[in-house]
Amino acid sequence: MNPIEILFEYWPRLLDGALMTLKLTFLGALIAGLVSPGLALIRVQAAPMAQAPLRLYVSFIRGTPILAQLFLIFYGSGQFRPALEEWGLWTFFRDPFNCALLAFAMNSTAYQTEILRGGIMGVPQREIEAAKAIGMSRSKILRRVVFPHAYRIAWPALGNEVILLMKASALASVVTVFDVMGRTRQIFSRTFDFSVYLWAALIYLCITAAFVLLWRQAERRLSRHIHAPGTPRASAQPFKESQA
C-alpha cells in the first residue's frame, strides 16, 4: 500500500487517536493548572518544613520516567484492589483513561508548580506594595496583582510544558488508552507499513504548531501592557520596570 492508501483506509482510527491525545493533554494540563497556583504559593511563602513534602514530590516526579509513573499507577493500583474497593476508589482506578490522566496530571502539576513559582518570584515587589498601600487584602493582592503578572512571566514556559505533556501522552498507549501513538502501533502491527509512522509524526507536528500559534496569540494579549502599540515610546518613560 502506498502512504495515501494507508491514510484513506485508516484515517478514522487516526482521528480517533488524535482526539484522545487532545483530550488527555487538555484535561491533564487543566487539572494541573487548577492545582498548581496553590502549590506554587506554598513553595514561595510557606516555611521550609511545610514545603518539604512538596519538594519531595516535585523531585520524585522530575527524577523518574513518566513511563514508570504510568505503570506504577496503572498496574500498581491493581495490586491494591481490595483496599481501593473499600475506599470506593476502585471505580476510578479501574478505568485506564483515569489512570493515565492521573499520571499526566500529577506529572504536569509538578512542572507547572515550579514554573509558576518562578513567575511569582518575578513579580515586582513594588507593585505588591502599592496594592497593600490602598488596603487590599492578601487574597485580593494575589488575584489582582501577583497572579496576572506571574502568569505573564510564566506563560512561555507553561506553553512548553503543555507541549511536553502532549508528547508524554503518547505513552498512554502502553496502558491501553489509544491515542495517536496507540492507533499508529495498532495500524502498523496490521499493515507493517512504515508510512503510518510518518502520518503520526505529521499529526503531532500539526497539533504542536497549532498550539504554538494559539499560545503566542494569547501571550500577545497577556503582554499588551509591555509592547502596547501606537504610542511614542522613544519620547516617553525615562523610567521603565528594569530601572528601578
Binding site: 496594592a131 505573564r152 501592557h225 504610542t231 519620547s235 516617553a236 525615562p238 523610567f239
Partner: protein, 252 residues
C-alpha cells in the same frame, strides 16, 4: 473650613532592622489641612517612618491612630491586625518609583482601589477615576499602559490613584526624585494644588522650594530622631540645631 481636628497621630514609633535601630522614637501629629514636609539626609529614616505610618513596615513598637482607629504595636506585633488594611485604605500613598500596576491602564489603576477595596460599583468608580485623571491633567492618556507614559505622567496617575480612595491623608515618599528634572514641575504643581485644596499631606522630599512654600510644618529627621520641627519660615530662617543648618547649607 472646619476647625482643625487630628487626622493622623503617630506616637513613639521605634523601628529596628535586625540590630540596626533606624527609628528611635518618633511622634508626629497631623491635623486637618496640615501639609507636613519631612526632611533629612539619606539614611536618616524618612522613608522608614512614612512606611511605618501605614504599616508597610511594621514598627517595632509604637502607636498609630488614624481618625480614631488606632493600632498599638508591641515587640513588633500589631495588637489589632484586622485594622491594618483599614488604616491603609484611609491613607493614600505615593511612591518614589510610582509603583503603578504595569498590567493595567491608567484608568484601571485609578479604579482598582474603589472597586476592589471599597466595593464601589464599576460605573461610579469609572466616572470618578476619569474626573481625577482630568484633575491631574491626563484626560487624554486614560487608556494607556504605564509603559506608554512618561515618568511625570506616571506619577500623576499614582496621585490620582491615591486620591481615588478618598483618603484622610496622603503620604508622599520623594515623589519627584525619580523624575527627570524637566518633569518635576508638573508633579509639584499637582501637589501644590492639592495642598491649596486643604488636603492633609505628609511629604518626604528633597525639594526645598516645596517644603518652604507649601508646607505648614517641617520636620527634620536626623539619625532616627526628630532633630528639629516647626513652621518652615521660622526653621529655615533660624536653624536651631547645627545638623539642620549644615543640611540646608548643603542642599541649597
Amino acid at each position: 473650613m472646619t476647625k482643625p481636628e487630628t487626622i493622623l497621630k503617630a506616637e513613639d514609633i521605634h523601628k529596628s532592622f535586625g540590630r540596626l535601630e533606624v527609628l528611635k522614637g518618633i511622634s508626629l501629629e497631623a491635623r486637618n489641612h496640615d501639609v507636613i514636609s519631612i526632611l533629612g539626609s539619606s539614611g536618616s529614616g524618612k522613608s522608614t517612618f512614612l512606611r511605618c505610618l501605614n504599616f508597610l513596615e511594621i514598627p517595632t513598637s509604637g502607636k498609630v491612630t488614624v481618625h480614631g482607629e488606632e493600632i498599638l504595636v508591641k515587640n513588633g506585633k500589631p495588637q489589632n491586625v484586622r485594622h491594618i488594611e483599614d488604616i491603609r485604605s484611609r491613607l493614600g500613598m505615593v511612591f518614589q518609583q510610582f509603583n503603578l500596576w504595569t498590567h493595567r491602564t491608567a484608568l484601571e489603576n485609578v479604579m482598582e482601589g474603589p472597586v476592589q477595596v471599597k466595593r464601589e460599583p464599576n460605573a461610579e468608580a469609572r466616572d470618578k477615576a476619569e474626573a481625577l485623571l482630568k484633575r491631574v491633567g491626563l484626560e487624554d492618556r486614560m487608556h494607556m499602559y504605564p509603559s506608554q507614559l512618561s515618568g511625570g505622567q506616571q506619577q500623576r496617575v499614582a496621585i490620582a490613584r491615591a486620591l481615588a480612595m478618598e483618603p484622610d491623608a496622603i503620604l508622599f515618599d520623594e515623589p519627584t526624585s525619580a523624575l527627570d528634572p524637566e518633569l518635576v514641575g508638573e508633579v509639584l504643581k499637582v501637589m501644590q494644588s492639592l495642598a491649596a485644596e486643604g488636603r492633609t499631606m505628609i511629604v518626604v522630599t528633597h525639594e526645598m522650594g516645596f517644603a518652604r512654600e507649601v508646607s505648614s510644618e517641617v520636620v527634620f529627621l536626623h539619625e532616627g530622631r526628630i532633630a528639629e520641627q516647626g513652621p518652615p519660615d521660622e526653621m529655615f530662617a533660624n536653624p536651631k540645631t547645627e545638623v539642620f543648618e549644615r543640611f540646608i547649607s548643603k542642599v541649597k
